[in-house]
Symmetry: C2
Subunit: 145 residues, 2 copies
DNA sequence: TTGTAATTGAAAAATATTATCATTTAATAA
DNA sequence: TTATTAAATGATAATATTTTTCAATTACAA
């Protein structure tokens, strides 16, 4: 599943949110790059084309998009508070520590581990976080080691 | 491996850092709770017993301890910038979304996935992040659902 | 087209984090 | 044990980040 404006609009409206031009632009901006972006970076990009969109709106939009699963917040590599577009239904991320490029992957099943942990600890597991960090092919050549 | 003051002192000194009373207190504070703590929470606890230890020292100490692997930074459950003691060599975390209790687990091998991802994407993988979030046994009874 | 609740932008407030610097201190070697 | 020295500390200030507030605007359902 690729990024789709119609999907974004539908999901927003389904949850009682309006599909405003600002939200469209923010979503589009995050979807149109391969790396992950911080709120400040998103604001900067957005602001270039749309100087009337404020930083506060970016923050508010990020909160909503993340809550609805339309974007993902990344953590590995020290880059907390950084967002990437949410392409497929359930997936995990592989992040380049040099250029920030994000590659999605899916098809890895953690349910066995989840079950083991439930049994061993008594926890009722709700969610998980799985990310890999490393050097993408392009950066392996560039980076001095 | 449990928390040991001697180990903390040794590792700090091995890396050219001094083992100061402040660092001892911060490390001990993080080790003496089951949950994860934010810098502010750590400062608050530390400050009660040692009013002379400042917030800046707490921040500086957390950076060093994290870098040396003596404490772990947690991310799942919206609690970025939250720390827990680092018990065993390599392990992952299971976090209670209600009370913040952290349970370590190890013995789960991601190397097969790591290899698959390397092959598929060309990435040279450096590290990963794996955390589970859920309700611990005690909180399952308490929390209204 | 209209009514209304949601959204926005701007400014201010609140939080969180980092830099600076004079003073103190841990750890090494004499 | 003492002297030496580089590292660490605490206090303050500076910076960065995020949230609140509120009047004006706007999306969208009726």
């Amino acid at each position: 599943m690729r990024f789709s404006e119609k999907k974004t609009a539908t999901i927003l409206r389904q949850h009682g949110y309006k599909f405003t031009p600002q939200r469209r632009v923010v979503t589009q901006t995050i979807a149109s790059t391969q790396d992950h972006l911080t709120p400040a970076a998103i604001y900067e990009k957005v602001h270039q084309e749309h100087p009337n969109i404020g930083l506060v709106t970016v923050y508010r939009t990020l909160d909503i998009l993340a809550k609805l699963g339309l974007i993902c917040e990344l953590h590995a590599g020290g880059s907390c508070h950084s967002y990437t577009t949410s392409a497929s239904e359930h997936h995990h991320h592989l992040i380049c520590s040099n250029c920030g490029k994000v590659v999605d992957f899916s098809g890895y099943d953690l349910s066995e581990l989840k079950q083991r942990l439930s049994l061993e600890t008594g926890f009722e597991i709700e969610d998980h976080l799985l990310e890999f960090i490393g050097l993408c092919q392009a950066c392996q050549k560039e980076v001095i080691r």
